[in-house]
């Protein structure tokens, strides 16, 4: 079947099998390998992307379900060559080690801050609680998102 999606502002159309998972569509068909596959069971969140502005676990959606809709992936976070504050925050606060969960964490973090620009620690922990990081013990991820919250306006790295 034919699937047409907008990904990070660009339109893509592909012939795919109806059973193709969205994560494999994004990675293997579109070549956007920033989103990762980690568990198959919606537990780890390494595959999180935005579907029509909302984070989803793309390992448990079909590519067909994204037909005619808009995706945003980690590759679409930085704009005009500038990092999103959440990306900068993860660098500043050592919010990543192996980097495998990072794209999913970043997408959730951006979604959270868009809705709640000044989240407290508990709100951040709640927001990322559907995702697994095996390296950081989460604290530096929390700090990274707080950093982004505190540098969301007027910072030279602000997304334009």
């Amino acid at each position: 079947m034919r699937v047409t999606v907008t990904v990070n502002g660009a339109e893509y159309a592909r012939e795919v099998e109806p059973r193709l998972l969205l994560i494999h569509f994004i990675r293997d068909e579109l070549g956007l390998t920033g989103s990762h596959w980690g568990c198959d069971t919606s537990n780890c969140g390494a595959c999180i992307v935005w579907l029509d502005g909302k984070p989803v676990k793309s390992c448990t959606l079909l590519a067909a379900m994204a037909d005619g809709r808009a995706l945003r992936t980690v590759e679409g976070l930085a704009t005009s060559g500038r990092l999103d504050p959440v990306q900068q925050g993860f660098i500043e606060c050592h919010g990543l080690q192996c980097g495998f969960c990072t794209p999913g964490m970043l997408m959730t973090a951006r979604w959270l801050l868009d809705r709640n620009p000044d989240p407290d620690e508990a709100e951040i922990r709640e927001a990322i609680s559907g995702q697994i990081c095996r390296c950081t013990g989460y604290e530096n991820i929390v700090r990274s998102i707080r950093w982004a919250a505190e540098h969301s306006t007027g910072h030279p790295l602000e997304t334009e």
Binding site: T33, N43, V74, Q97, C98, F100, R134, T136, Y138, E139
Partner: protein
């Protein structure tokens, strides 16, 4: 900017936050095919027949490989890192649920999976050994009938310490405690599963393997030994690795199947396991059944420890550890205390479960050792009605006792244990916590405080004692200084998130007085990096970090000779300051490393000892292990109605010697503490009575999330290692090793009003509730009739 050590943001993050890392599954090659593994549904069964005709007829299938295909190439079995053999694809029997039986190569991932369903395997199920404690029973099913010398399921017996002396101390001890405890089977579960892309070039005969490996050079050697391909025609590339924790040290059958698939089809073949395959078939950790005993005087002097261990190694002895240490470094079970005697005996057995045992940041089983001694010390405190922190303080080694040879012969290099423990207690506000606990108890609340103190033995190791498959545990480093003064460092170890591209540049920067930005670190490609045994057992900084410092010092000395020629002075007349050699007594006259590098490549007439550049190589052979230590305090609240444990606070003071980059050290500790909470409270790979794996997905194998982990409270003491070039000890596994007993001690402390002495991990709500009822259960097996009645 010059100078190396200190907090510094990571070089590797720029690509990771943009989604531009390159993990194995991101590798795409022209014409690449995809492999999938058919696995056994049975824990133990004879293979009567395998029919692959239907799979081969699938229009998108290019090859179907079975054990028979491999046997024709003498590849059906491979050596393990413990000197045993392991089936690549089963020929005679399957020996654990999830074992590799056949491999399909197809044009896409989904077709490969489809074709697995078309393979018809006829099995004759056999009785299986699921309970390790039954493995040596007379008449137990023989698992390894492929080995002619094997008449039962016994793998090894290993002992350490002095049995007679321990017996003598125990015989006249005023107080003893004894406890059976299980360190259950757990899994490192890196977020990236294991996989490989194999590309065999039929023209050049060169095999390139992109693999999820923590030890690319060891893998190259093994590929050469197994496949018979000449080693110089094998290139192993370990690209970005999505976490390893010991899971990515061994060679797995899937890697070899991808290689064979590429040789047969002439195309690159990618194989990535799924999460269930990772949890069910790749290297688990622990599975140590221990009976520990402590002897002490009534006034609280710990005198001796002894332990009997049954180690479940699964169906093949596939642990990755130094050859002479079948129980890893469990020999440091004497812990951090000054004892009169110690003895342990470890028996390893085969069971019908996945192979492994050494993984999950365990420092070669120091994890099990620390858990044993730290639980026993808490039990002794309970027995003597002493505060567990106070009991530890009384018995810790004193700074003046280092270097300290423990009762099992390990030579601890340095430490100031009382200072480390004192700092942890201060940060915790320990005395106030105990008062609060008293008030909470009076109000009927279950609050627990757990303390642990650990000593690790890492940085393997001295080559006269330590090898893997005959290869001494050394690591190499090569440093090139370009004419304009920037540098390339090539190392044999492999980051899986530890940040080597940053910290190893910092080591060179520290030694040469250049900017870390001017040092490029190259790793993970056996064609361009020097030989070495790789990253595990917290050995990167102790061994390869030392090699890096030593190679930089060689460069520095070479630069001295060139600088002397440039300045027309004797080399002995030069003195060093970061980045520059200068004339003693005339500091204005000198040359920077960049100036010297350019001169070394110029028409300057070079003196003897310099051939034309400053480049150098080094192999570092550690003279001893390094011994990081730490003191941890955990505070928990337990809901008596549900048994749910909440970790309120966790205080960790680590002494890993000199810290290259404190930010990264803290990150390593944070991750290990989360591991500890997971293992203590949530994680277990259990089996049912039929041998079905009950931990085969993240819905069953529970990992801690942001909600189970508190905000960590860290502290540090710094006791440099006296034998390491810059005093570092390694920290990658400290918190994973040290934190589980702190959590368990806290939970048992909380349950004190119920008289609970011990309950095995994981302390799930069900297990805690059972403990409150006085009936904690075995956690490694699903509840059976006899377990239901057991105390």
């Amino acid at each position: 900017m010059t100078g190396g050590f200190g907090r510094r943001l990571r070089k590797e993050d720029a690509r990771f936050v943009r989604g531009q890392g390159c993990y194995v599954d991101d590798v795409q090659l022209p014409g690449m095919l995809h492999g999938a593994v058919l696995r056994s549904p049975h824990p133990h069964a004879r293979i009567l027949s395998i029919d692959t005709l239907a799979a081969e007829a699938h229009p998108r299938v290019r090859a179907v490989i079975t054990g028979e295909t491999l046997a024709a190439r003498n590849l059906a079995w491979m050596p393990t890192l413990s000197g045993d053999t392991q089936a690549v694809l089963a020929t005679d029997k399957v020996r654990f649920q999830g074992q590799e039986v056949a491999f399909v190569v197809a044009e896409d991932r989904y077709s490969a999976r489809d074709a697995l369903e078309l393979i018809d395997v006829e099995y004759e199920p056999l009785p299986a050994v699921i309970d390790a404690r039954r493995a040596l029973d007379p008449g137990a099913p023989l698992i390894r009938d492929d080995l002619s010398h094997q008449a039962d399921n016994h793998i090894f017996d290993w002992e350490s310490g002095d049995a007679a002396r321990a017996q003598a101390v125990f015989a006249d001890a005023e107080v003893t405690v004894i406890q059976d405890m299980l360190y259950p089977r757990v899994h490192p579960a890196p977020l990236e599963t294991c996989g490989a892309v194999a590309a065999f070039d039929q023209v050049s005969g060169k095999l390139t393997v992109w693999a999820t490996t923590q030890a690319p050079h060891a893998h190259r050697v093994l590929y050469a030994m197994v496949t018979g391909l000449p080693e110089h025609k094998i290139r192993v590339i370990s690209p970005d690795i999505g976490g390893g924790f010991g899971n990515k040290v061994p060679i797995y059958p899937g890697y070899l199947c991808a290689v064979v698939g590429s040789v047969i089809t002439g195309k690159p073949v990618k194989w990535m396991e799924d999460r269930s395959e990772n949890l069910m078939s790749t290297s688990f950790a622990r599975d140590f059944h221990m009976r520990g005993e402590l002897a002490a005087s009534r006034d609280g002097r710990i005198r001796a420890v002894r332990v009997r261990v049954l180690a479940d190694h699964g169906a093949f002895n596939g642990t990755a550890q130094p050859s002479k240490f079948p129980a890893g470094f469990f020999g440091v079970f004497t812990g951090s205390y000054d004892l009169e005697a110690a003895h342990c005996q470890v028996t390893g057995v085969y069971t019908n479960k996945a192979p492994g045992g050494v993984a999950y940041s365990c420092s070669f089983r120091v994890t099990e050792a620390v858990y044993l001694i730290e639980r026993l010390v808490d039990m002794l405190a309970y027995e003597l009605r002493l505060d567990p922190a106070e009991l530890r303080m009384r018995n810790l080694l004193r700074p003046e006792q280092f270097p300290y040879t423990c009762q099992t012969g390990w030579v601890y290099d340095s430490g100031d244990y009382p200072r480390t423990l004192k700092l942890a207690l201060e940060i915790a506000g320990y005395d106030d916590l105990r008062k609060e606990q008293e008030a909470e108890r009076a109000a009927g609340h279950l609050m627990g405080i757990g303390v642990s103190f650990f000593t690790e033995a890492v940085g393997a190791g001295p080559r006269k004692h330590m090898d893997i498959l005959g290869f001494g545990m050394a690591d190499g480093a090569e440093l090139r200084i370009h004419p304009t003064g920037t540098a390339v460092l090539r190392i044999s170890v492999q980051t899986q998130g530890q940040g080597h591209e940053t910290t190893f540049a910092q080591i060179v920067a520290e030694e040469l007085g250049v900017s870390p930005d001017d040092v490029e670190v190259v790793h993970g490609d056996t064609d361009v990096t020097p030989f070495g045994l790789g990253t595990y057992g917290s050995r990167s900084t102790p061994v390869s970090g030392a090699a890096t410092a030593m190679v930089a010092r060689k460069v520095r000395e070479r630069a001295r000779i060139v600088a002397a020629a440039m300045l027309e002075v004797d080399p002995d007349d030069l003195a060093w300051e970061p980045g520059r050699w200068f004339v003693r007594g005339d500091p204005d006259v000198g040359r920077t490393i960049a100036e010297i590098a350019l001169a070394a490549h110029s028409d300057l007439e070079l003196p003897p000892g310099v051939e034309g550049h400053l480049d150098a190589t080094c192999v570092y052979n550690p003279p001893n292990l390094t011994y990081p230590c730490g003191a941890y305090v955990c505070v928990v609240d337990v809901d008596p109605g549900t048994g749910k444990v909440s970790v309120r606070r966790f205080i960790a003071v680590d002494d890993c010697g000199v810290r290259i980059n404190p930010m990264i050290v803290e990150g390593q500790v944070h991750g290990g503490l989360a591991d500890g909470i997971g293992m203590a409270l949530m994680e277990v790979v259990a089996f049912d009575q039929e041998g079905n794996c009950l931990g085969g997905s993240f819905m069953d194998y529970l990992l801690p999330t942001s909600l189970e982990c508190p905000a960590w409270e860290l502290g540090e003491t710094v006791t440099p290692s006296p034998h390491h070039p810059f005093g570092a000890k390694g920290v990658g596994e400290s918190a994973t090793v040290g934190s589980p007993p702190a959590v368990v001690n806290a939970v048992i402390d909380a349950l004190r009003p119920y008289g609970v002495r011990h309950a095995d991990m994981p302390l799930t709500p069900a297990q805690v509730w059972r403990a409150i009822q006085g009936r904690p259960l075995r956690t490694d097996l699903a509840i059976g009739p006899e377990d239901r009645l057991a105390p």
